[in-house]
């Protein structure tokens, strides 16, 4: 059993949860636990059922995807304050990439079942969390578009 106060404090330090009303924060803390991982530890696997949703407090997670012949490509890193495992809440509830801790990691995590139950039973909680998840995902979508433009790619050099 963990100290709820420290979890609330940790949540408060993050972009994701800061600004939520104390009640919701406590509600969240009640179903959350802190989580630690060492560099190299695989947190979730691309394509596997997604079981945990979380917020990074310290450290860094690399989101990787396997490209045949090019190997594992890191497409995004998740920094303190940012969320991971949103697939847990969104069908088909499978991880869209592989998450690997690349720096000693501290995170607040929520288990699949507990979080879903809480959200189903508590409209206010749902109303508070979903917009933040949408914002987080939208942010990634925009960033991905920019990445897609490959802005720093060298000019295609013709024979001339």
């Amino acid at each position: 059993m963990q100290d709820q106060g420290s979890i609330v404090a940790a949540l408060n330090s993050t972009w994701f949860a800061s600004g939520l009303d104390p009640e919701t924060q406590t509600r969240l803390a009640s179903i959350a636990r802190t989580f630690h991982a060492e560099p190299g530890e695989v947190l979730f696997q691309e394509g596997e059922p997604s079981t945990t949703f979380g917020v990074v407090i310290r450290g860094r997670i690399a989101l990787r995807t396997l490209v045949p012949e090019r190997g594992e490509i890191t497409i995004l890193t998740i920094e303190p304050g940012d969320i991971f495992g949103w697939s847990t809440l969104i069908p088909p509830n499978r991880s869209t990439s592989t998450g690997v801790a690349i720096e000693p990691l501290e995170a607040i995590v929520f288990d699949n079942a507990g979080l879903k139950a809480a959200i189903r039973s508590d409209v206010n909680l749902a109303a508070a969390i979903y917009p933040r998840i949408v914002v987080a995902v939208a942010r990634r979508l925009n960033a991905t578009r920019l990445q897609l433009l490959d802005l720093f790619a060298k000019e295609e050099v013709r024979s001339w």
């Binding site: 890191t74 890193t77 920019l146 802005l151 060298k154």
Partner: protein
């Protein structure tokens, strides 16, 4: 009246306007020829009245007039013997003041040594015969653009100085004329040496300068009768009445710029062939490009300046493509420049209402119709353009020597140059140099470091010219002109928190900023450098980056677009480095450099994080050829990027920044 303005004691015949019999016009021509001048005047050739070399009155289009309309021109016989009974034709005087082709620079390469020799300017002594009011105005516009400073075109200045102007009052007009609207005519009022008003049997003559007065005194004149004077005034008045006022010039600048998204642009683009005729027949269009040629050895190169047009595809080309890829963008660029941004740049319209672009548009697009359709109302006065004086004529380069070369990333190298033009010692952050090798087009390249007796340039070998530069070895020479352009406003950063956001080779122009800060670190608050690259190996100045963060008190954050497992740094676009950072933007200023799209995203994010547009600065890349605002290629709205930039605040650029096709 001009004649009394002359300082000399008046001679009897000069008391009022004087009369010259048509039979005596040859005397004037002879006087001008005796003065060693080549006469340029109207003559009938290939079914049009063109300006060309003439020897005598016999060469003039006696008894010929013309019919003009949109996309249509025909000469026709007049019922009288008038010598100037036509309206302006296809030729404009810029053929002599600003020729379509002039040699610029001879470049030679001898082993690793290079040298550049400006082509000598040869300006003939000319006399223009038959210059109309709208054409005098056009010469005036050229004077402002090409000789008004801060930079001047030496070739134009020399040619202009050698010309005597004999003007003629318009006694007839074409349906394409609109000098009245542009305030340039039809009355000849200034800018001439002599003016003629043609009457049935001769001319009313007036002097407009000392030179003109001297000529006047040597002509067989008699005082003009009151009837003649009245008649002369009357015909010109009739012309004004006939032309009317087809375009409301008052407030046109703002009306036009307020309509950058008008659907008409797309409609006119369906008719416009973007052939460029309008710009080349225009008496004021001054855009040029430089073409290079070499011999088979490549050791001898010649660069020549030729007329270019904003309607041509290559005109706005940069590495990433053309800034004005769509015909509608090109037409909008031309029209808004002529009737709006030209005012911002030169304090005058670029159009004198001569109507050539209407007559000689092969598909008959009428600029007056377009203006009235796109910009039909009224409003404010323009704001003045920013000007940062530097550097010399477009055709000279100072050879510098390569002291050291340092590979930065695959395909990118930093050259340390020494023996540079002393001007570089006075250079400052954000500026660039025009860099030339014989046979290659000179390129604008940001200065990535200022050394005591030289500079560093960081170059990515993309095209042939940049490859040639990137391939330079120690001891090789290269031609430089500069430093050019304005600075990053470091003074505004003093006492503030500074955010520097950049990507890829975009760090090069900001490197001197960081050097400057480190040199006087205490004057600035927090300095954050957010730097993104494509992959880890594409990060420039890696050793310096480390030093900056470890010992120089710069808060450096790096990110890459994609990386393999070996990379433990951040992956993601540069904006993600700070779009959630907890910071106080109230005292913050931001410098941004990178691909234009990246700068837009960054500016948007910064604004979203509370940094005011007036304190977000970007540096623009545009196709540059001259580097000093004379070639026209790098125009963006009312600015020439090379001369007024390349550093601009988002506030300055307004919604032109990121707008397609500007």
């Amino acid at each position: 009246m001009v004649m009394t303005s002359s300082g000399r004691g008046p001679k009897p015949i000069a008391e009022g306007p004087a009369f010259l019999a048509r039979a005596d016009l040859q005397v004037l021509l002879d006087l001008l020829r005796e003065d060693g001048r080549t006469l340029i005047g109207p003559t009938l050739d290939a079914g049009a009245i063109v300006y060309d070399e003439i020897a005598s009155v016999e060469d003039l289009p006696r008894g010929w007039g013309d019919e003009q309309g949109p996309g249509r021109y025909r000469v026709r016989r007049r019922s009288d013997e008038r010598l100037f009974g036509y309206v302006v034709g296809p030729t404009s005087w810029k053929k002599w003041t600003f020729p379509s082709l002039i040699p610029l620079t001879k470049g030679t390469r001898d082993g690793h040594r290079v040298s550049f020799e400006p082509a000598p300017i040869d300006a003939p002594k000319l006399a223009f015969l038959g210059v109309r009011a709208c054409e005098l105005a056009a010469l005036g516009v050229q004077d402002r653009v090409l000789a008004g400073g801060p930079f001047t075109d030496p070739d134009f200045v020399a040619r202009r100085a050698g010309i005597i102007v004999v003007a003629v009052q318009c006694t007839t007009s074409a349906p394409t004329c609109f000098c009245t609207s542009m305030g340039t005519g039809p009355e000849v009022t200034s800018g001439y040496d002599l003016s003629l008003t043609e009457l049935d049997d001769g001319f009313l003559v007036a002097a407009g300068s000392r030179v003109g007065r001297d000529l006047l005194e040597r002509l067989p004149l008699r005082p003009a009768s009151a009837t003649e004077q009245y008649g002369a005034a009357a015909v010109v008045a009739n012309v004004r009445a006939r032309i009317g006022d087809p375009v409301t010039a008052d407030g046109l600048h703002d009306r036009l710029l307020a309509q950058l998204d008008h659907p008409r642009w797309a409609q006119v683009a369906e008719r416009c062939i973007t052939c460029g005729n309008c710009t080349l027949v225009c008496p004021t269009c001054f855009c040029t490009t430089v073409s290079q040629s070499t011999d088979l050895t490549g050791d001898h190169a010649l660069s020549e300046r030729i007329w270019d047009s904003c309607f041509s595809p290559g005109f706005a080309k940069v590495a990433g493509g053309s800034f004005r890829s769509r015909p509608r963008d090109r037409y909008r660029q031309w029209l808004t420049h002529k009737f709006a941004t030209w005012l911002d740049q030169f304090g005058t319209f670029g159009c004198t209402g001569c109507g050539r672009c209407i007559t000689w548009c092969p598909v008959g697009i009428d600029v007056r119709e377009e203006l009235n359709a796109i910009a039909p109302a009224v409003s404010l006065a323009p704001e003045a353009a920013i000007v940062e004086p530097v550097a010399a004529a477009p055709n000279d380069f100072v050879a510098a020597r390569v002291l050291a070369t340092r590979p930065e990333t695959p395909g990118t190298v930093t050259l340390s140059l020494t023996g540079t033009d002393p001007a570089f010692a006075r250079g400052s952050t954000g500026q660039f140099a025009m860099v030339a090798l014989p046979g290659f087009p000179p390129l604008p390249i940001s200065i990535s470091r200022f050394l005591p007796d030289g500079i560093e340039l960081t170059i990515r070998g993309a095209g042939p010219a940049t490859k040639a530069l990137a391939g330079l070895q120690i001891g090789d020479q290269v031609g430089l002109r500069g430093p050019l352009g304005n600075n990053w406003p470091l003074d505004r950063a003093v006492g503030r928190d500074l955010v520097i956001v950049t990507g890829g080779i975009g760090l090069a122009p900001l490197r001197p900023v960081i050097h400057a800060i480190i040199a006087d670190r205490r004057r600035y608050g927090d300095v954050k450098l957010f730097y993104g690259a494509r992959t880890p190996v594409d990060l420039h100045y890696r050793d310096e980056l480390e030093r900056w963060s470890k010992q120089d008190g710069i808060d450096v954050s790096l990110t890459v677009d994609r990386a393999g497992p070996e990379w433990h740094g951040r992956v993601g676009v540069v904006t993600q480095l700070f779009d959630q950072a907890v910071w106080d933007a109230s005292n913050m200023i931001a410098f941004v450099c990178g691909p234009e799209r990246m700068m837009q995203a960054t500016a948007t994010t910064l604004a979203g994080r509370g940094v005011p547009a007036s304190r977000i600065y970007v540096t623009l890349e545009r196709h540059m050829e001259c580097g000093i605002g004379l070639c026209g290629h790098c125009q963006m709205g009312k600015y020439f990027v090379c001369r007024d930039g390349p550093v601009f605040s988002i506030a300055q650029l307004g919604d032109n920044f990121g707008r397609e096709g500007i």
